[in-house]
Amino acid sequence: MQLLSIAESINLALDHEMANNPDVVLLGQDIAKTGGVFRVTQGLYEKYGEQRVLDTPLAESMIVGLSVGMASQGLRPIAEIQFMGFIFPGFNQIATAVARMRNRTRGRITLPMVIRMPYGGGIHAPEHHSESTEALLAHLPGLKIVIPSSPSRAYGLLLAAIRDPDPVIFLEPKRIYRSQKHALGKNNEAYPIGSCFIDRVGSDITLVSWGAMLRETHQVADELAKMSIDCEVIDVATISPLDMRSIFESVAKTGRCVIVQEAARNCSVASEIAAELVEHGLRLLKAPVTRITGYDTIMPYPKMEHYYMPSVERIREAVLRVMEYQ
C-alpha cells in the first residue's frame, strides 16, 4: 500500500471527490499550474482543467465571497487560502455570509463549501504565516472547524468536509504537512466530523490536543509510559462543534486532564474545554484541569518562535504536576 504525507493525502482526497462529483471545483491563488504554495493541489489542474481548478485574482474576501455564490447554486467550491494569517480580509465574508446563510434564509440557501488553509508555526516563515487563530473561527455559530493530525485523518476528514451540506473550515497543520507518511485506510471512506479520536488508551491522565501539537503530546505520553504513567491521548480533530462527550468519558476514567494547544491561551479552544470540564465534570476531577498553550503574545518571528511553541518539556512538566494530586 502507498504511503502518503498529509499534503499528499489531502491532494488524493481532492482528486477523489473531483473525480466522483463534477460539482466540486477548486479555487484560490496560484493553485492551478503551481499547485499552491505547499503544492497541495498539484496535478489537479492538469487532470481536471481550468473549469474545475481556478486560479483567482489576489483577494481573499473575493475568494470566500465567490465561494458563497458558487455554493448557493449547488457547486461544491473548495477554496484555498494561502496561509491562515491571510484569512482576515476574508473574515468578513466568513462571519457575515458563510456562517449565516442557512440561518438567514431558514434553510432555503445552504452553502456546501470548504475553506482550506495551512495554519500554525514552527516552519520559520515570515510574519503572519505562523498563527493558530482557530478560536476566532470556532466562536462563530454556523461553521464547522476541522483540524486533522495525520495523513489518514486528513484524507478521511476532508472527504467528509467536502460531502458535508454545511460550510467547513479545514485547517491544515503545515508543520507536519510532510513529516510523516501513512498508509491510508479504505479508499473513499470519510471520517466523521464532530467526533474525537482516541489515539492512545490510558488510565492515569487524559491528554487532549489537535493538529501538529499531537506530535509533542504523543512524545510525552511515550516517555511517561516508561515511568509507569499511563496517558490517554485524544485528538479533538473537530474543534467546532466540540465532541465533549468523548472527553468527559475519558476524564471520567482518568480523573485528570491536560489540554495542549499551540494557539494563545486567552479565550481559546483549550479554555472552552477546560471550562466545560469544570462546569459539568467537577466531580470527575482529581486535579485541576491544566492548559499548556502558546503564550498570549504576538507569534514571534522565526528566530524566537521556539520560545512560544509549547515544548515537550512544558507538557511533561504539566502532566507530572497534575499527577501529584491524589
Binding site: V64, Q73, N103, M244
Partner: protein
C-alpha cells in the same frame, strides 16, 4: 503641476482614453428627450411599471407610519428611488438570479417577493428571507453588510459561467457609499478578469447615511470605477424608469450572450431618511430636498402616460385605491403572523444540529416554552 508635465524627455503619449455616457429618455417634465425604446409602446408593461412605483411609494409611507406606531423595526425606505429597482428588476427573467441589497424593496417586489415578506424581514422575522415564491429559489436574501453581496453575485455568475449555462445572468445592487468598500472593487475586478455574466447597479441616491457623494469620492462619476475593472460603465437617470429599463435590459442581454459584466450608475435621490430611525433634517438642506422632489420618478412617468393616453385621472385614482388595498392587506398578514417557535433559533444553523447544542436547545424550551 500634473505628473505628465514631468516627462521632459519625449512628447507625452496618452495610452488610454475613457468616456462615460449619461443616458436619459424621460426628463423631469415627463417628456421624451430621445427616441423611445420599443417597450414604451407596450401599454400593459408601462402601466405595470407605473403601478409598482406607485405601490412602493405608498408602501414606504405606510412603513414609516407603522414604525412610528411601534409596529415595525428599522426600515430602509426607497422613497424617490423606486424607479431604479423597478426598472432594473423588470428586465430579469425567471432564469436569472437576483442578488439584492438592503434598499431593494422595489426590486424584490417586482421579482415576486410579497410585501409582507419584506415587512417580516425588517420587522425582525427571519422567515422574510425564505421567499415563498418557488421561482425565487436561487435569489439571495437581503444582506446588511455593505458591498458583501457583490461578491456573492460574482460567485453565482461564476457558477453560471462554469456550468456553461446559456441565457442566464445575475443582477445585483449597491449604494453609492458601498462603492468605497473593498468588496466592490474585488467584485469589479473579478467580473472583468473572468468576463462574468453580471450586472451591478449603483443606487446613487447621493447619500451614504449622512455622508454626501462629495465626501465619498473624488471621482466625477461612480460609473467610471468600472474602468479599473476593465468592464463597461454607464451613468443613467435613475428617476427615469424608461432609461433604467433600457440600459439594464441591454446590459443583461450582453451578459447572457457571454459579453461580460457592466456597471450601471443610477443617479437618483433619497427623499426619505436613511432609515426609519434616522433624522435626515440634520444633514440635508431643505432647498436641496425640495428641488429633488421636482425630479422624482412617479410624477414624470404619470405625465408621460397621460400625454400618451395610456392613463387618465380616473384610472389613476382607481390604481391608487388598488395599491393602498394591497399594502393594507399585506400589512395585515404581517401583523397577524404568528411568531416562530423559540427553538427556531437553533433549527437552521446546520443541516443537523450538533449534539453539543442539544442541551442549549432544551434550555430554551424549558425557559421559553416550545
Amino acid at each position: 503641476m500634473s505628473i505628465s508635465k514631468l516627462n521632459t524627455f519625449s512628447e507625452c503619449k496618452s495610452v488610454a482614453h475613457f468616456n462615460i455616457n449619461f443616458i436619459q429618455y424621460l426628463n423631469e417634465d415627463g417628456q421624451l428627450c430621445a427616441e423611445a425604446p420599443a417597450f414604451c409602446h407596450d401599454k400593459i408593461l408601462m402601466l405595470s411599471l407605473y403601478r409598482a412605483i406607485k405601490l412602493l411609494h405608498l408602501f414606504d409611507l405606510k412603513v414609516l407610519n407603522l414604525h412610528r406606531a411601534g409596529q415595525m423595526g428599522t426600515y430602509t425606505g426607497t422613497l424617490g428611488q423606486e424607479a431604479v429597482g423597478i426598472g432594473a428588476a423588470s428586465c430579469l427573467t425567471d432564469n436569472d438570479v437576483f442578488v439584492p441589497y438592503y434598499r431593494s424593496a422595489p426590486d424584490l417586489y417586482w421579482r415576486g417577493v410579497k410585501l409582507h415578506e419584506i415587512l417580516m424581514y425588517w420587522g425582525g422575522d427571519e422567515r422574510g428571507s425564505d421567499f415563498a415564491d418557488p421561482r425565487l429559489i436561487n435569489d439571495f436574501p437581503i444582506p446588511i453588510v455593505i458591498a458583501s453581496q457583490l461578491l456573492h453575485a460574482a460567485g453565482v455568475a461564476s457558477a453560471i459561467k462554469l456550468r456553461q449555462q446559456k441565457n442566464r445572468a445575475v443582477l445585483t445592487l449597491v449604494g453609492d457609499g458601498g462603492t468605497s468598500e473593498g468588496d466592490f472593487y474585488e467584485a469589479l475586478n473579478v467580473a472583468g478578469a473572468w468576463q462574468l455574466p453580471l450586472v451591478i447597479i449603483i443606487n446613487n441616491n447621493r447619500w451614504a447615511l449622512s455622508e454626501p457623494n462629495t465626501r465619498q469620492t473624488a471621482c466625477q462619476t461612480l460609473a467610471q470605477k468600472a474602468i479599473a475593472g476593465g468592464i463597461e460603465g454607464v451613468q443613467v437617470d435613475g428617476n427615469d424608469v424608461i432609461a433604467m429599463r433600457a440600459v439594464t435590459e441591454a446590459a443583461l442581454a450582453k451578459a447572457r450572450a457571454g459579453g461580460g459584466a457592466t456597471l450601471i450608475e443610477a443617479l437618483t435621490y433619497r427623499l426619505c431618511a436613511h432609515t426609519t430611525i434616522d433624522d435626515a433634517t440634520r444633514y440635508v438642506a431643505s432647498e436641496e430636498l425640495d428641488q429633488a422632489w421636482q425630479r422624482e420618478p412617479l410624477k414624470r412617468l404619470k405625465t408621460w402616460l397621460i400625454t400618451n393616453e395610456m392613463l387618465d385621472a380616473a384610472q389613476d385614482a382607481n390604481l391608487e385605491i388598488e395599491c393602498r388595498a394591497e399594502v393594507e392587506r399585506e400589512v395585515e398578514i404581517f401583523l397577524n403572523m404568528p411568531i416562530q417557535a423559540p427553538t427556531a433559533i437553533f433549527d437552521f444553523l446546520y443541516a443537523e444540529l450538533p449534539e453539543r447544542l442539544l442541551s442549549q436547545r432544551d434550555d430554551v424550551i424549558k425557559h421559553r416554552g416550545s
